[in-house]
Subunit: 456 residues, 2 copies
């Protein structure tokens, strides 16, 4: 049966590509209030796609953009998969940087250029088209697949947690599958099994009531600018280790076999530095660049501001300056504990001559790591290997997906991230693209995955 | 004769105050191109004032706003004074903060509120009215006084250096007198004999070619924000001493009698901290607040900027951040040497993972300190004591007046700064004011000064 499904997918390659272009023409920018109708249209398009192949589907309203829920019904064995993705896309920001209009998809050099091509319309569509192929060939899927395709991912999924809690019975599953990550590089498909947590802070340092003359008052009062620099500098030592007391206490050490596996990944540090445009790499002593990215917690300044920022000079001691500082966490760091320890360390480092306030932005989020020795993960590895004709690697991700620990908590299921796009696909930037051959290999992988899972 | 001059000044008190209000109605904002004609009108008003009492006067054009040169002709002894001041004023910025319109002077509680009342129209006018009184009573001044009243002080005197060099013979003098500083406090008139120098820098730290995702890349590359903080923090030690090699090498220690004199000044640190709104004072260990203000060099951040500065969070490693940093210098620090030492120290503190650029803004300027044991200084002290019925104190100033070292260099003469306004007169802010009684005492002081100088 799987051979017929693959034949169907290959025969319908052009039709499926055309289907992708159709999906990409919908301007479903969730953050843009003027696109409310078009975002709704995105949900409708997804429903039509499911109905086309006979999979039952609901559009569930939320306070903002609706969510699409679909269910294939019971499969041949008892395994159930929840496929999570999103039909909304990032805004455009600067249209002038796009070589072709972001909502008029264009294929150049074997790549589809359009907003949402990689993130996430193109990737989530691979699973919907794999289901279509199975339904057309076998009139059913080999395992039960539930679909949760939301329209608010790019605005932080404000209503998703409530929906998952309310619909937890309906969404019950053994595995969650997500295609919203990337391959390791052009030639290496990848399955991502871990993401980092996030705590995001803003430190505000206040000195004199107003900006004051740096000549008349300089040297006699604490300067908020100097004080902020001192506070931030105190948070790391000369070996690039975070000095916040207790910061590393709960950090789970990568198991020896994981370290070994990561060390075997082909990773060219020189090329990495060159691609980012930095003169040299820098990171925590005692760890490789890959380990620093994926298994070690980090602390970074995201922004600095205050005082005179215009051209030339203005001789003031600023009344107020601030910094945005984020920490990416790994298992088993507790974001609440880290958040509190950060506050304490910042206040302890602050000179008495200034006042310090600390804000937390967003929700503290913990890291997530899936087990790699499950039937689901084995099925995914084999499926991607068959789909791409290349053995995938197991990788982690330095970014944060708050939805993963939430799925684990509410549904008790682990996530498998099958990434089909390229790491440089410009997901949130201009000229976002998705390789047509990766799209096709993704559909094949998604179809194989259901087959492999059913045979376990 | 001096008694008649004083009687004349007292009799004409109201007329002189009205003259001040007239001067203040002219909107001579030198930085505002739309005020070009009104700025010219300021120069014309000054010429009329000189002509009124028979002092010869020229308006000398410059590439932007003209300069007024006047000369009383030879006095009874050979001493010549050059009176320097300016008729241009600061811009308004936020009109809504003014209680009465800035160019419609209003007297409230014995104070004239108007832009330029203290800085510098009101103060420079005291000397012009003192001259008028002398001319009316004695048909001549007791010593020769030359006047240099420019219209570009508030835009940094871009054409003054050339003018002084070109007219150095015409401007030759024994002393320069300036009234553009303040009293120590309401009850204490002051003569300022020193100002600090200034070196103003901008440090730019560059990392990746673009802002990059702090999750995907955090911990593997140098963060320009953290690096900038580290560089700035390295410039001072825990005792608030600047760590730049050689920074203190040429610092002239205050003579024991100067330290003693400064320590006798009434200065309430608690009140000072409260007036600035800071929770505690902070400065270089081993020195009093007064010493930190006037006789010790300082280093201050004036502004910080780069990366994400908006509301909430954006998880980026900024491509570029920058800081404005200024140093105030004291005798005998050489601004060029300090500027170079700063650059070296910053580059030495920079991590290899980032690129650092350093700019110098404006012109490096050295400190200036006048001798206090001259006939001119003794005459000024006595004159202010008589004018204000209160013994003045000798103070320095933390701010910078680039014109002073230039006068010394080109004309070979020292400057005496007789300050008549209050330290909280809002010179560059809203509701600038000048006490009417200080204005009157200033005119008396200026008239006494010429008398005292002639009798030496």
């Amino acid at each position: 049966m799987i051979d017929q499904v693959m034949a169907y997918i290959d025969e319908h390659r052009d039709e499926f590509t055309a289907r992708l272009l159709e999906f990409l023409r919908i301007k479903s920018i969730s953050t843009d209030a003027t696109c409310k109708d078009e975002t709704r249209q995105g949900a409708e398009w997804v429903r039509t796609q499911f109905e086309r192949c006979g999979i039952g589907c609901d559009i569930v309203p939320t306070p903002r953009h609706p969510c699409v829920l679909a269910d294939s019904g019971s499969g041949s064995n008892g395994t159930t998969v929840l496929l999570y993705g999103h039909y909304d896309v990032q805004p455009i920001i600067d249209l002038s940087l796009w070589k072709s209009p972001p909502f008029e998809p264009e294929i150049r050099d074997g790549r589809v250029f359009a907003r949402g091509s990689a993130d996430d319309k193109g990737q989530v569509l691979t699973h919907m088209l794999a289901a279509e192929a199975w339904m057309k060939v076998a009139q059913r899927l080999p395992v039960r697949v539930k679909y949760l395709i939301e329209g608010e991912e790019e605005i932080g999924s404000p209503n998703l947690a409530d929906l998952i809690r309310e619909e937890s019975d309906r969404l019950a599953c053994d595995y969650i599958v997500i295609s919203d990550t990337a391959k390791l590089d052009e030639n290496t498909p990848a399955i991502t099994y871990g993401t980092k947590g996030l705590v995001y802070k803003e430190i505000t340092v206040t000195g004199p009531a107003n900006d004051v003359h740096s000549g008349s008052f300089g040297g006699t009062i604490g300067n908020p600018g100097n004080a902020l620099c001192k506070i931030i500098t105190s948070l790391k030592d000369s070996r690039n280790r975070v000095t916040i007391p207790g910061f590393y206490k709960d950090v789970r050490k990568p198991a020896p076999d994981e370290r070994q596996r990561l060390s075997r990944l082909k990773f060219n540090e020189k090329r990495y530095a060159k691609s980012l445009g930095v003169p040299a790499l820098e990171g925590e002593a005692g760890y490789s660049t890959i380990e620093r990215r994926w298994v070690r917690p980090t602390l970074d300044v995201n922004g600095l501001f205050g005082g005179y920022q215009g051209p030339g000079s203005s001789t003031i001691i600023p009344a107020k300056v601030a910094a945005k500082v984020s920490m990416r966490l790994v298992p088993d760091q507790d974001p609440e504990k880290i958040s509190n320890a950060f506050d304490k360390a910042v206040l302890a480092a602050a000179p008495k001559s200034v006042r310090v306030q600390i804000q937390t932005h967003g929700t503290n989020c913990s890291a997530y790591v899936a087990p790699t020795d499950t039937d689901g993960m084995r099925a995914a590895l084999l499926a991607v290997q068959k789909g791409f004709n290349k053995r995938p690697v197991l990788i982690r991700e330095g970014g944060t997906l708050p939805i993963l620990p939430m799925f684990k908590k509410v549904l008790g299921a682990d996530s498998i991230m099958m990434g089909f796009c390229l790491p440089n696909c410009n997901a949130h930037g201009p000229n976002e693209f998705f390789d047509v051959s990766d799209f096709h290999a993704g559909i094949r992988s998604a179809a194989y995955f259901l087959h492999e899972l059913a045979s376990r």
